[in-house]
Subunit: 258 residues, 2 copies
Amino acid sequence: MTGSTRSDFRISTLRQACTHCSLNQLCLPMSLSEADIEQLDAIVERRKPLDRGGHLYRAGDSFRAIYAVRSGSLKTYTTADNGEEQVTGFHLPGELVGLDAINSWVHPCGASALETTSVCELPFEELENLAADIPGLQRQLFRLMSREIFADQEMLFAMARRSAEERLAMLLLSFSDRFGRRGLSPSRFRLPMARTELGNYLGLAPETMSRLFRRFQEQGWLEADGREINLLDVPTLRELSGRGGEEAAGGQCHPVPE
Amino acid sequence: MTGSTRSDFRISTLRQACTHCSLNQLCLPMSLSEADIEQLDAIVERRKPLDRGGHLYRAGDSFRAIYAVRSGSLKTYTTADNGEEQVTGFHLPGELVGLDAINSWVHPCGASALETTSVCELPFEELENLAADIPGLQRQLFRLMSREIFADQEMLFAMARRSAEERLAMLLLSFSDRFGRRGLSPSRFRLPMARTELGNYLGLAPETMSRLFRRFQEQGWLEADGREINLLDVPTLRELSGRGGEEAAGGQCHPVPE
DNA sequence: CGACATTTTGACGGTCTTCAAGACAGGTGG
DNA sequence: CCACCTGTCTTGAAGACCGTCAAAATGTCG
């Protein structure tokens, strides 16, 4: 009885195909034909979920594959000589991690789970071969990498020229967009990471984060109860973030015109 | 007489082939066969040199091609709503620009020449087609994009966690590496951009840059006469930059093992 | 030479960090 | 059920670092 249930559970998770995945418009298969998606499916490996804090890979690990987040969330981070850590990105379902390792075949950043998280593993050598055969896939890969470059540059701009307030506004809107894109509420959501980690990502001390959240609440821009966020005044936040109608940085989610 | 000379000049510049280009180990052709390089050669368009301040493309221009710097140098930059400018990168011979536009087919940043600069134009649609046929080219493109992602993340780290001093040390070492890689002196070089632009890139005010350079000279770490730089104490700079033996960020130059 | 941009210098102030302490939450074991 | 503990968050006070402002000096190019 129990054995049967467990077995069913594992089969149903492990055999989830790209075709039926609700994220396939965010992830690689976008704009591929059914037949192409099946080819892609054949090389995708599903792994058992990671527990909170578990590592998908560590900095220095040799590179084998890139990963698409299926559920849960990840952070990627580097560690400096002196041991201080810098979060380089948060990754939600439908987003890819590991693209920064293609050049050197070694992961320059570690990736760990912020909560229970499952990913699809895309062995890179096979993905490359497939990309040479399927023009749409090659193009999609170029695009996703380009998008990441663009997002990193936006983030760079933010770090160089924007105040703490503006940076937090940007980040909140980035999450808002990314949740919205998955059909979740763009105004009410639960952040999967601690304030400390948000602050680390934004280059701000935890104390500053605390004060910022208080100020944002006093201004009536949002309600925050721990990790539970409720955005009340998106227009003001958008104005603060400095880039009116444009996409917020900090993630891999941007519109994809053809 | 004059007509003949001018004509010769133009032919010799315009017909310079990748095979004979001294930069081909920095740029795309790396590790391609002679035959493959010839195919690449066929799609490369050489343009007439840009004058200082001239634009290769502007933010908002539609994307047609990526470009490899052949001689001279470029900066890429974004402009915010309020008009303030942020330099997103400096690009020396052998480096590519325009990769951030692949995703949206619109250039999110402008690119302008810091001095008289010539580039090779690589029409992207044709490059994509060629990449599907030549596995080595596809791989090289993935690599170069990955390298850029990595470099941007390093830069992000610097902006988030490093002091003005540390950032300047990083940048100087980045230029040192990049000049060195081209066979020039890694300790004596002429920066192609103004202090103001360096500062803009690093997220620092011009006044701060001035004070930094003075402090660095007082410490005996370098000599600077305008844009002419002479690094005197690379080990100390390297220690300051926080990443001992590793690559400095801020550019597209990293070792490429196979 | 003369107009203009870039760089330098000094004084001052704001933003964010750091340090130190206390509040709160979630989980564990008695 | 409560005491305990650890990690996270909050709050306050002090100070560092860098930005801003203003003005002079230097450099650059027509």
